[in-house]
Amino acid sequence: MYRDSEETRLVHGDEAIVLGALDAGIKVFAGYPITPASEISELCSQLLPKYGRVFIQMEDEIASIAVAIGASVAGGKAMTATSGPGFSLMQENIGYAVMTEIPVVIVNMMRFGPSTGMPTEFSQQDVFQARWGTHGDYEMLVLAPSSVQECYDFTIKAFNLAERFMTPVVLLGDGILAHLREKLVLPPTSRIKIYNRKKPTCPPEEYEPYKPDEKLVPTLAPFGTGYKYNITGLTHNWKGAARTNARAGKEIVERLHMKFHKFREEFVDYDLKGHPEAKLVILSYGITHRSAEKAFKVLTNRYYKVADLKINNLWPFPYEFFDELPSTVEKILVVEHNWGKYYREVERYALKRGIEVHSLTRYDGTIISSEEIVEKAEEFLK
């Protein structure tokens, strides 16, 4: 999708994700219809063939993610998109991509659950499912866009992080963002930064796909390029051969964690703004930030000392933001659309730092208004 110059469009979140995927170099998209992510499939079916890319509608979400992973094994960047029930079905194969270290992007436009819930009212209930929805011991990269522009930007980022860290990446949107139409600025192609996974340079007979490089990630050659090797969901040695013993298990679990923790600066992402002597921080993520940001502006106009913190990468938890908070901060108000899930994680880290954490939530399929946040914040600030 080449562009000489910047281009502005009015699109919804689902469309922005598709445009982001195209600019990131997607080769294969596989999906199964589900509201509010169906538009992603629809647009892929329309646009991808025009650029020689592949769209396929599979028989279910389990097959969709399997196709995406298979395509990535053959060297093509791949994505799937779904919502709650489909995201639950995908979990086993997400674990497969974690274990085998195959880059893939999974979009979950969150809706209200559990189960079929309230299609298609929105929620932010899947924040922990996105982190640890599949079994086993691992870390997950999860990005949460809060605008249509970020749907585009974060999709490109999700592909780049997947290729860089050799891992599945979850783009956690929601039902409001999916259908929200806003201005989207598409940068000229030359300004888009793309990261592609490393390819082996050694001769095939010396090749060890799972030998960690200096960034602790494997170097997986695309299938069909002469480097024949094995990929398995079993624990394995550097050659990719199944090895189910204590040493292989320990080594893999350690590396699946350390490949992220040693390079946190490459994915930790949040936006903090506000008064240098702020007493209260309003923390939010995803679409909720739109209400939170407005509340922040209202409170600032009323001369309250308050800060606005938007979390862009939900997981691994970006605890670095604590070091940037003004020393005057006494309280954090976590605003989210679930029973108060991210709040607990924030509190876990805040306790050590002597900061009080409060939760403002809503779980009825509608969005918190800025007035509600202002009201709650004023209780703390007066």
Binding site: M1, K27, V28, A30, Q46, L47, P49, K50, G52, V54, I56, M58, E59, D60, I62, A63, S64, A66, V67, A68, I69, G70, A71, S72, V73, A74, G75, G76, A78, E92, N93, Y96, P222, F223, G224, T225, G226, K228, Y229, N230, I231, T232, G233, L234, A241, A242
Partner: protein, 283 residues
Amino acid sequence: MTVARDLASITKYLREEELPHIWCPGCGNGIVVGTLLRAIRELEDENFLHQDKIAVVSGIGCSSRAVNFLNFNTLHTTHGRAIPFATGIKLANPEMTVIVLSGDGDATAIGGNHFLHACRRNIDINLVIFNNYNYGMTSGQYSPTTPHLALTKTSPYGNLEYPLKITEVAIAAGASFVARSTTYHVIHLKNIFKKMLKHRGFAITEVLTGCPTYFGRYNKGGSPTDLMEYYKKNAEMVEKYKGREFPKDKIPIGVLFEDPKKQEYTDMLKELSEIAKGRVKVL
């Protein structure tokens, strides 16, 4: 061909350092895999295939473990999902020859839905189903192909369910090449595999094999030689009965259905892409 020369012809397809394999004495899996490798060897000698361009994908189960020993681009995936993983490989790189190794449980129980839709989609994937009538890896529970009233670990009083007719389902679902053979008829099986690999479209071969350790042990007449005898006596090649009715008490082996004209999915994708590029204004 001497045994040594025969073996030497396929060792390049084996990861010898990963041997011995995990299969029990008397298991038919080795016969199926060895025969497949011989078929690949002959096709590679004909320059029809290339080892570097072959992807072998499997799910979970005894037969699925084969990929660990095979020197191709191998992907050992999750239970029942080998076909969609293989579909992804084929979509991203249609030049690959894609082979799926699957058991009766993997392909027709947990993976049954993917099996049906791959048949319908007619994507160029070669599916080998090792039918040993039970779940061997988990120690012999009943599967969709376990005969009615047969004894297994989870049907100790006899299996209440009726077995799935894999090839008939495949034909009904739209597979464009459907064949069956057994571990007794190895030359026949090799030729079937060659035909399967040469077919463009979704091709399946059901191989009747045996699990003497579990299914055989629980049911009388299940030793490795008993099974060979059984297949020798009861399997008949379909081409022998051209124009005549196939005997009801025999197992038909051979190419049961073939539609070489049915268009293959990735071929259609290429055409679709051309249409999309020309018809719609490029963004």
